[in-house]
């Protein structure tokens, strides 16, 4: 709503004007917001504050808690095992986020022309399937696919790459990428469809003009498609980066963080620290760091892609 310069008459009475005459109603909105505020405060804001508080304590969850200041945080950044969980989360971003967004872009740009066809309508349903099922189910499915006798190894043997076959999730070198593949499978469809939806809003005449000027598909993609998709790309990156940093379900069912610690991520480590090892303070410090990481990664993306409007 734009500001009205003093002295000009307002053409219609706005909500603000009415409320100025009836101050009693002005605050009524808070009554409407109250139930939401109450549940949000009880189950989000309070736990959030408590997480921060616990993170400064050494507490086993039962006995007395003792204040240890920043010790949990120092340990977090000096103990290689704990630090590794954070690094793993960043490695997963490559699979959960970069791969699906880049593949989504490539695929969507290629199939843009048939976006209205019957095939594309069917694809809209099929490609959403991984988004609809529980992540746990995706984890179970792929654990089987990636096992020694699973489909992946079967296909490798069929094309003569039998020497590559292995228990993908049980091998120190391949477990993390293998978990990443599961995440990529979940996210690719969503990214493709989001980007396709964004492309359908681009004015077709832009492409026609570019074609007449002799632009090839690559030029077309770089000069027209990519700039028009800023917001959609931002959404894809945001959603998938959060999924990577806060991954839990897939890893819990497929590797439990193993072998060794090779697929341990912050979400799973928090779960183990708090509920198996009874290190509530340490778990909370990791939770605070995870929350900050998500914010630090997501806010700049939001800023970059919101381009002025709102």
């Amino acid at each position: 709503m734009s500001l009205t310069p003093p002295g000009t008459t307002r053409p219609r009475s706005t909500g603000r004007g009415r409320r100025a005459r009836r101050p009693r109603r002005a605050w009524l909105g808070w009554a409407f917001a109250l139930p939401a505020i109450a549940v949000y405060t009880t189950f989000v804001l309070r736990p959030l504050a408590l997480t921060v508080q616990y993170s400064f304590y050494d507490w086993n969850g039962i006995g007395a808690a003792s204040w240890i200041g920043l010790d949990n945080y120092t340990r977090l950044f000096t103990e290689p095992e704990l630090l590794a969980t954070i690094l793993h989360a960043f490695e997963l971003i490559v699979f959960f986020s970069f791969v699906p967004v880049l593949m989504g872009l490539a695929v969507a740009a290629t199939i843009r022309r048939i976006a209205q066809s019957r095939l594309a309508t069917v694809a809209r349903t099929v490609l959403f399937l991984p988004q609809v099922i529980p992540l746990v189910a995706a984890g179970i499915m792929w654990t089987w696919l990636l096992s020694t006798t699973g489909l992946v190894n079967q296909m490798l043997s069929a094309v003569g790459l039998g020497s590559l076959t292995r228990a993908w999730l049980g091998d120190f070198g391949t477990a993390l990428p293998a978990v990443g593949v599961i995440g990529a499978w979940v996210q690719i469809g969503l990214c493709t469809l989001l980007l396709l939806a964004g492309m359908s809003k681009i004015d077709v005449s832009l492409y026609e003009a570019a074609r007449l000027d002799g632009a090839g598909p690559v030029r077309e993609f770089v000069s027209i498609t990519l700039p028009s998709l800023r917001q959609e790309i931002g959404v894809c990156v945001t959603v998938t980066v959060i999924a990577a940093l806060a991954s839990f379900d897939i890893i819990y069912v497929s590797t439990q963080g193993g072998p060794g610690n090779s697929t341990m991520v912050p979400g799973l480590e928090i779960f183990y620290l708090a509920f198996s090892e009874r290190q509530v303070g340490m778990a909370s410090a990791l939770a605070v760091v995870l929350t900050l990481l998500v914010l630090l990664c997501v806010l700049p993306i939001q800023r970059l892609t919101r381009d002025g409007n709102r």
């Binding site: 139930p35 804001l45 349903t125 099929v126 929350t291 998500v294």
Partner: protein, 274 residues
């Protein structure tokens, strides 16, 4: 539009490949589920003697009837209350715009990206102190709170676009704010409400972390939480595990396929607003 046939063809081939990649894991799950229980089948092979009975066995082993009921009860607790509270707050922040509404809304937006893992430890102690551990309320109540930022954001986006004149007219007819909300705005918000309902249903049904931390009995969890327990119990019997997983997937898949148009629209919009 200038299109060459080669380009269209590449597009079609690529789309079919992507669909195949999406469907192959489901197919592998299905054929594996048909092998004799306890065997170690190859990735994708049709069994000589398909054991359709595995599904019945998994239905009993997974305690499917109770699981369905439990998930249904949890959804029934989460979705209507979230819709009601979210709509009321969205109406306040988007339409009534009371003094300080910007700050109030901002505080909700802040909660939007919080990972559940960051809150789960204090939630556990809080739910325990409330005496709700191992009851369905332990999942229902926190989820209502955790979904609130998104619900409020979603409904506010709807109410921001409602013209003020609409309310003016109702006010002149003597409607109180509650009547205005109930009689005028809620009926107009139906499309936004149903999309939000679909998303909340899906996220509740698939909720895993809260279910495994706060409820020990799989039969009182969500479908996803129960699936985790089923894996722990039957993880070595691959065909039975596959059959059970498929059974647990079926309810969401069925609902998705029936309402797929609404689902796809809601999921697309949902990611944009989130």
């Amino acid at each position: 539009m200038i299109t060459t046939r080669r380009e269209t063809l590449t597009g079609r081939v690529l789309l079919v490949l992507l669909m195949a990649m999406t469907l192959l894991p489901f197919l592998s799950l299905l054929v594996t589920a048909l092998h004799p229980s306890g065997s170690y089948p190859d990735g994708l092979s049709w069994p000589a003697d398909p054991q359709w009975g595995n599904f019945a066995a998994a239905f009993t082993a997974a305690n499917m009837q109770r699981l369905l009921l439990s998930s249904f009860l949890i959804v029934l607790g989460v979705v209507p209350i979230s819709l009601l509270f979210g709509t009321m707050a969205g109406f306040a922040f988007g339409h009534l715009r009371m003094p300080g509404h910007r700050i109030g809304f901002l505080i909700f937006v802040l909660g939007l990206t919080l990972p559940f893992e960051g809150l789960i430890t204090p939630l556990y102690y809080q739910v325990r102190d409330m005496g709700l551990l191992n009851t369905r309320w332990a999942i229902i109540l926190p989820l209502i709170g955790l979904f609130m930022p998104f619900s409020v954001l979603w409904m506010r986006a709807h109410f921001v676009n409602m013209p003020d004149e609409l309310s003016e007219a109702a006010r002149i007819d003597g409607a109180s704010t509650w009547q205005l909300f109930r009689r005028v705005h809620v009926p107009l918000a139906k499309p936004a409400l149903s999309s939000l309902g679909i998303l909340l249903f899906l996220w509740t049904w698939n909720q895993f972390l809260l279910a495994i931390v706060l409820v020990a009995d799989p039969a009182k969890r969500t479908m996803a939480g129960a699936l985790g327990a089923f894996q722990g119990q039957w993880g070595t019997d691959i065909p039975l595990l596959c059959a059970g997983s498929l059974l647990i997937l079926t309810p969401t898949l069925t609902i998705f396929l029936i309402f797929q148009r609404r689902f796809v629209a809601a999921l697309l919009q949902g990611s944009i607003k989130g």
